[in-house]
């Protein structure tokens, strides 16, 4: 067989140490290991690593793990559309939110600055609509006032007639 190290196939030695090779492939490799000190050293080292990792057991899981999880699941009430919209932003740390907020502010400022005054149409003065009946009523009022003035003058000129 081709030397795994020379053929850049060192994963074969890793697989051998892990006991993952088929029997035939393992025997072929073992024959090679007998005559290749470099591969033999690597395989022995890898076997030691595998054994050392085997000894590393993870601690026991807290008995209330599931209960805690289901409590959190229950608090996941049916989300309203706005809560679903907000959710991606909610756990976002400040350093991610700040650039977004700054970008939004910049966009707002630029949009205000780009609003050209020339775009504002001058407001045309509204044409006054004059109604004939209003004019007639006003003239009538004026005439009534004149008559009232005349009457008051007459009253002041002859105070004793009352």
């Amino acid at each position: 067989m081709a030397c795994p190290l020379e053929s850049h196939n060192s994963e074969l030695l890793v697989a051998y140490a892990a006991g993952e090779l088929e029997m035939e492939a393992a025997h072929a490799l073992e024959r090679h290991l007998e005559e290749c000190p470099a591969c033999s050293a690597l395989a022995a080292g890898q076997a030691a690593v595998w054994k050392a990792l085997d000894a590393w057991q993870a601690p026991a899981i807290s008995p209330d793990f599931d209960a805690r999880l289901y409590r959190r699941v229950r608090t996941e009430a049916p989300a309203t559309w706005w809560r679903r919209l907000w959710r991606p932003l909610r756990p976002m740390p400040l350093f991610k939110v700040l650039p977004l907020a700054a970008a939004a502010c910049m966009l707002l400022i630029v949009s205000v600055l780009l609003e050209r005054p020339a775009n504002i149409e001058p407001v045309a003065p509204r044409a006054e609509t004059v109604r004939v009946d209003q004019v007639e009523r006003t003239l009538d009022d004026l005439e009534l006032l004149n008559q009232f003035d005349v009457a008051s003058h007459t009253d002041s000129a002859h105070p004793n007639t009352m």
Partner: protein, 196 residues
């Protein structure tokens, strides 16, 4: 190699369970939790090396699975998806912890080394001490690996994932995984070969 490759997604029973969760079957979620709770927490523990943090991250993993039920599409093996979430959370936590602690190494501080890690309770005190020192050496060697190499080694060693699945979890090519594992095992051999 005898490692099981990615089975067709259609044959993945976990995918079927997840599709039932999507249809509102909470019992299927309980089954998925029962089956994957241990591997996920243990993987996260070996990644972050703090049990309370590992459990908290695992809660987030399963919560995300539950939250995503409505939009779930079986495009990959369920475990690939599950460990992608777990790895993502672990790598983020490690990055944040590093930036919080500056250059302080994660393994400098006190960590939990429960006595139950010593499998042989009948061993003498001296043997227990030797065993504890060896475990500490292993733990430190793994903690010393770059984050992605560590994730690749843990998935390869403890979850028995093949290169293809690890590549899909880490969102990289198989050759990149081979390279990650080659360098990782090279480092571990340099540190742990004397323990053989």
């Amino acid at each position: 190699m005898t490692r099981m490759g990615d089975a067709a997604v259609a044959l993945d029973y976990d995918v079927e369970l997840m599709l039932r969760v999507k249809d509102g079957d909470s019992a299927s979620f309980a089954l998925l939790l029962e089956k994957h709770r241990g591997p996920v927490i243990h993987f996260l523990y070996r990644m972050v090396q703090e049990q309370p943090v590992a459990e908290e991250l695992a809660q987030e993993v399963f919560l995300r699975v539950y939250r995503s039920r409505a939009s779930y599409e079986p495009t990959a093996k369920f475990t690939t998806w599950l460990f992608r979430i777990a790895t993502h959370l672990a790598l983020n936590w490690l990055r944040d912890a590093r930036s919080e602690r500056g250059q302080e190494r994660l393994d400098d501080g006190p960590v939990d080394h429960p006595s139950h890690q010593i499998s042989d309770r009948q061993a003498s005190v001296e043997q227990q001490m030797v065993h504890k020192v060896k475990l500490e050496e292993v733990r430190e060697a793994v903690a010393g690996l770059p984050d992605k190499q560590r994730a690749a080694v843990l998935m390869h060693k403890y979850e028995e994932m093949d290169y293809g699945q690890i590549a899909r979890v880490l969102a990289c090519s198989e050759s990149a995984v081979k390279s990650l594992l080659f360098r990782a095992y090279e480092t571990l051999r340099a540190r742990l070969a004397h323990m053989g």
